[in-house]
Structure formats: structure tokens, C-alpha cells
């Protein structure tokens, strides 16, 4: 099973991870295809957040996590890479919007560049504008770039966080339930934005909203109790699932 028009940029091979007592995910094998959106769905506690955090080693921020197996980014094992360099290529957006409270809108977007001391040929203002446009936020904030980021609404803050992640030009963007703290209108805006972004980068998103996975993603992985039950094209998963547990979940029989 593969996507003939693209290639696998990120891959989990035999990946297990746990927090001391028992494994939160077990032996996950999964491909993430370049410039495609992959959704990871499953009931609460199935390990989907653990899985996505392993993809850019953010799991290491939770004390006591251990990982076995391999995650390869363009065929390089990320556990042998410098986490700082890895995270510049694999960015992350979190469940709750988390703009830096002490910084303006402009500085929030530029934070990755300013804090890293990275300055390419493009000017900071240019990068900020491009990133905000990519996050479909520029028109709403262009007149108040120097205001505190916390003045924005929740949905705007989340798009600001996406813009902030895009500004360092990652190859892969991980989103951990990016819409679960947002209302339906803000959610729709983010979904639309993700569909536009997939021309430029690879997107992996965790969601407990099946409709969202069906609307947005190209590939879907269904997880249950730490196991990747089924992985395939989104339309196949939602119309002709092969595993009865997937069938049960998408028809709403549990979870």
C-alpha cells in the first residue's frame, strides 16, 4: 500500500513508547507521505498523542518516557539526531493555543527565527507576513502586529501558533488535536487552512473528531489501546474498513 504520486518522508518502524508502567503505544508501523495530510484517530487514551509527540521527540519533555523502535525522517533515525535540529524540520502545534504572552503578534511569529538567531536572506517582516498569510491570519491582524498576542481570540491564537510554526519552514507539521479548544467556525477556518498548506508541507494531525479526519485527511490511521489497528487511505478507512474494530469505531459503536 503506497501513494504512487509521492513518497514516505516520515516513517515509524516498530515504535513503542511508555511512561514507566506499561506501554502507551505498541509496535506502531506507519508511513507519512510527503505533502499529504495524515490523520490519527481513536478514542481518548488510545496513545495517539503519545505517537505524535514521538515524531519530533516532544515526548522527552514528559519525565520517565521510554521509546523503542525507529522513527525515520528522510531515512534518518530521529533518535540519533540533535532534538533541536529535528524540531526545526518537524514543527508542532498543540491542543490549546499557546502564544508567548510577553510578545507581540509580530514577535510571536518571528520567535523561532529571533530565538534561534536564524536570519536568512528574507527580512523578518517578510517572513512574518508570509507566515501569517499562509495561516490565513494576515488580513485580520495586519494593523495590530505590535499588539500583545493574547488580545486575539482563541481561534486566531491557534492560527498564530500555526504561523509561528510555519515561520521556521519545517518539512513536517504535527498538530495535536488543534481544534479541540475551538468553536466550529474557528475549526472550519483551520481545516480550510490545512488543505491549503498541504501543497507546501507534510501534515500529521491527531483528532478525536472523525468527521474532521474524513473531511481533511488523505490518509488515516486508527488507533485503539496503544495499537495501530488500521492504516490506509481516508476514503477506504471510512467506507470499507477491513478491521471490524475500525468498523465499530467509525459507525459510533464505541469511543
Amino acid at each position: 500500500m503506497s501513494d504512487e504520486r509521492t513518497y514516505s518522508i516520515l516513517e515509524a518502524r516498530g515504535l513503542s513508547a511508555g511512561y514507566g508502567s506499561g506501554d502507551a503505544i505498541r509496535n506502531v508501523n506507519m508511513h507519512f507521505y510527503d505533502k499529504r495530510i495524515t490523520a490519527i484517530i481513536g478514542p481518548s487514551g488510545c496513545g495517539k498523542s503519545t505517537l505524535i509527540r514521538c515524531l519530533n521527540r516532544m515526548h522527552e519533555e514528559i519525565p520517565g518516557t521510554q521509546v523503542r523502535g525507529v522513527v525515520a525522517l528522510s531515512e534518518r533515525n530521529i533518535f540519533h539526531m540533535d532534538p533541536v535540529r529535528l524540531r526545526r524540520q518537524v514543527g508542532m502545534v498543540f491542543q490549546r493555543p499557546n502564544p508567548f504572552p510577553t510578545m507581540s503578534i509580530f514577535r510571536n511569529v518571528a520567535a523561532g527565527l529571533i530565538l534561534n538567531g536564524l536570519r536568512g536572506e528574507r527580512s523578518l517582516a517578510e517572513v512574518v507576513e508570509t507566515s501569517l498569510r499562509q495561516a490565513a491570519l494576515f488580513d485580520e491582524v495586519k494593523d495590530k502586529l505590535d499588539q500583545p498576542a493574547l488580545n486575539l481570540s482563541g481561534g486566531q491564537q491557534q492560527r498564530l501558533c500555526i504561523a509561528r510554526a510555519l515561520a521556521v519552514e519545517p518539512k513536517v507539521l504535527l498538530l495535536d488535536e488543534p481544534c479541540s479548544a475551538l468553536d466550529p467556525i474557528a475549526t472550519a477556518k483551520i481545516e480550510e487552512l490545512l488543505l491549503q498548506l498541504k501543497d507546501q508541507l507534510t501534515i500529521v494531525m491527531v483528532t478525536h473528531n472523525m468527521q474532521q479526519a474524513a473531511r481533511v485527511s488523505d490518509w488515516t490511521g486508527f488507533m485503539l489501546m496503544g495499537e495501530l489497528v488500521e492504516f490506509g487511505r481516508t476514503d477506504e478507512i471510512f467506507t470499507t474498513p477491513r478491521d471490524p474494530r475500525t468498523q465499530d469505531y467509525i459507525t459510533g459503536r464505541f469511543g
Binding site: R87, N98, R164
Partner: protein
């Protein structure tokens, strides 16, 4: 319920309520009696020349505490320069890496140090700095005050670092920013209002300390001769004047006490105002 029992309950309630209210009033009264007493005695001797002149010899009227005010400012400033970085950076270490037994021991030691009588810390500085250098010095006084400051700054800074949500640190790390830069440029600025408040409270605490200065900075009736020589300080002046047998010096002790109380009070109020600003930022 019988009438007699109800009445008894009402009486006990009234009694207990009066007792707690009386104790509350007593607590507050102590503060206001002290302030009132100091102002009552101090205001008489307080004028512009008192703030701008050097002390006069016994028997001559007039004279001021200019050297003590400058001395206090210098000693406290150097103490802050020595103590604040140690306290703040130590708190960063505790917060980032202190989730283990070592962290527990450090916290416990800081609390013990915080409860150490200040005169003992003065003796410590005397033995460590004054004796080997064979001279009383402002430097020794500042070192003693810095030791008092460190645990206060350490614990308050750690508390405020803990209030910074983990999501901000994750946001920084997920951008590929090295950990030390995330701490320095994201976590500390987010807690800055609170950290500054802790520093100011520690400064106003040490500004009023006299015991650690008695055998370190020693005191001086003239302008000081640099950090390696005895230096005057407000609490020392108050102490010296208050135990003297001269009526005029007693008056000046009251006035100096009033100046010290007002400065410390101003520092406390400033700290509270900053705290309000800091809390607002971390809540939003």
C-alpha cells in the same frame, strides 16, 4: 431546641466572634501603633538638613544621616548584586533539574538558611571576611546581607517559575529552540513580574537588618572610604543613636527610623504593584 440552649449558643457565638475580631484588631493595631509612634517622635527631628548633612559631634546641635542613607543604599545594592544572580539562577536550576532528591535537599537547606538568625550570619561574615582581611568593611556587610537574600530570592523565584505553564516551554522547544534559550527568553520573561517582586521584597527585608552589619560594615560617622572600609548604614545609625545617653541622638534615632520605615514601606508597596502586573500577565 430549647430556648435556653439557643440563647447559650448565641452568647458563645457572640463571644467567639468578639474574640477573633479583637485579635484581628490587635494584629493591625501593632503595625499602626509602631508607625504612629515613629512618626510622632521622628517627624520633629526630620527636616531637609537632616537628610543632607553628616553627623555632628556630641553636644553640637544639628547634623544628619546623609552618609548613612548613602551607605545603606550602597551596601544593599552590592548585596543585591551578589545575592540576586545566585538566587535567581539557583531557582532556574531547581525548577529545571530539581525534581529529585538533590532538589529536595536544596529546598530544605534554603528554608533552614531562611530561618537562620541574622546575627549568626553576621558572625559568619565576620569570621569569613572581616578577620582574614583584618578590617571592618562594607564588603563584609554586603556579603552578610547577600547570604540573607539568597534563600528568599531562590524560593520566591522558583514559585513564580512554576506558575509559567508547561505549554509555553513546549511551544519554544517545538520551534527548535535550545532549552537554555527557551528558559532565558521565554520562561523567565513570562515570570519576570513575580521574580522582580520577590527580589524587591528581599531587598526591603535586608535594608532593615542591623545585626549582620554590627561587626561587618561596623558604621562610620563620615562619608565612607570605599568598599573595603567601614561604612555607615541606617539600621546601624539607629542602633548607635538609640543606645546612646544623649537626648539629641535619641531624637535623631527616631527620625532615622522613620526614614528607614518609609523607604522599606515604599519598596513593599512597589513590589505589590509589580506583583499585580505580573499576575495579570501569567493569568491571561
Amino acid at each position: 431546641m430549647t430556648d435556653a440552649r439557643l440563647r447559650r449558643r448565641k452568647i458563645v457565638n457572640g463571644l467567639m466572634f468578639s474574640l477573633t475580631a479583637a485579635c484581628t484588631i490587635a494584629c493591625l493595631a501593632v503595625l499602626f501603633v509602631i508607625l504612629g509612634y515613629i512618626v510622632y517622635h521622628g517627624a520633629a527631628a526630620l527636616d531637609w538638613s537632616f537628610l543632607t548633612r553628616l553627623p555632628k559631634p556630641v553636644g553640637e546641635p544639628g547634623g544628619g544621616i546623609a552618609n548613612a542613607m548613602v551607605g545603606s543604599a550602597k551596601i544593599v545594592a552590592l548585596a543585591a548584586v551578589l545575592g540576586v544572580p545566585v538566587g535567581v539562577l539557583g531557582a532556574v536550576y531547581l525548577h529545571e533539574f530539581g525534581h529529585n532528591r538533590i532538589g529536595f535537599v536544596i529546598r530544605y537547606a534554603a528554608d533552614l538558611l531562611n530561618g537562620m538568625p541574622s546575627i549568626v550570619i553576621g558572625v559568619f561574615a565576620y569570621g569569613l571576611i572581616v578577620l582574614p582581611m583584618k578590617r571592618f568593611s562594607a564588603l563584609a556587610g554586603s556579603a552578610a546581607l547577600a547570604v540573607i537574600m539568597i534563600p528568599i530570592v531562590l524560593r520566591s523565584t522558583e514559585e513564580f517559575l512554576r506558575l509559567v505553564p508547561a505549554s509555553l516551554r513546549e511551544a519554544g522547544l517545538a520551534l527548535g529552540v535550545p532549552r537554555w534559550k527557551v528558559i532565558l527568553l521565554v520562561v523567565i520573561p513570562s515570570a519576570w513580574g513575580g521574580i522582580l517582586t520577590g527580589i524587591l521584597l528581599a531587598v526591603s527585608r535586608i535594608a532593615g537588618e542591623s545585626a549582620p552589619l554590627i561587626f561587618t560594615a561596623f558604621g562610620n560617622r563620615f562619608w565612607d572610604n570605599g568598599w573595603l572600609n567601614p561604612m555607615s548604614a541606617l539600621p546601624l545609625t539607629i542602633y548607635t543613636y538609640a543606645i546612646s545617653p544623649y537626648e539629641d541622638w535619641h531624637r535623631q534615632a527616631w527620625a532615622a527610623a522613620m526614614v528607614l520605615v518609609l523607604v522599606v514601606l515604599a519598596g513593599n508597596v512597589l513590589a505589590r504593584l509589580l506583583m499585580r502586573g505580573g499576575r495579570g500577565a501569567s493569568n491571561a
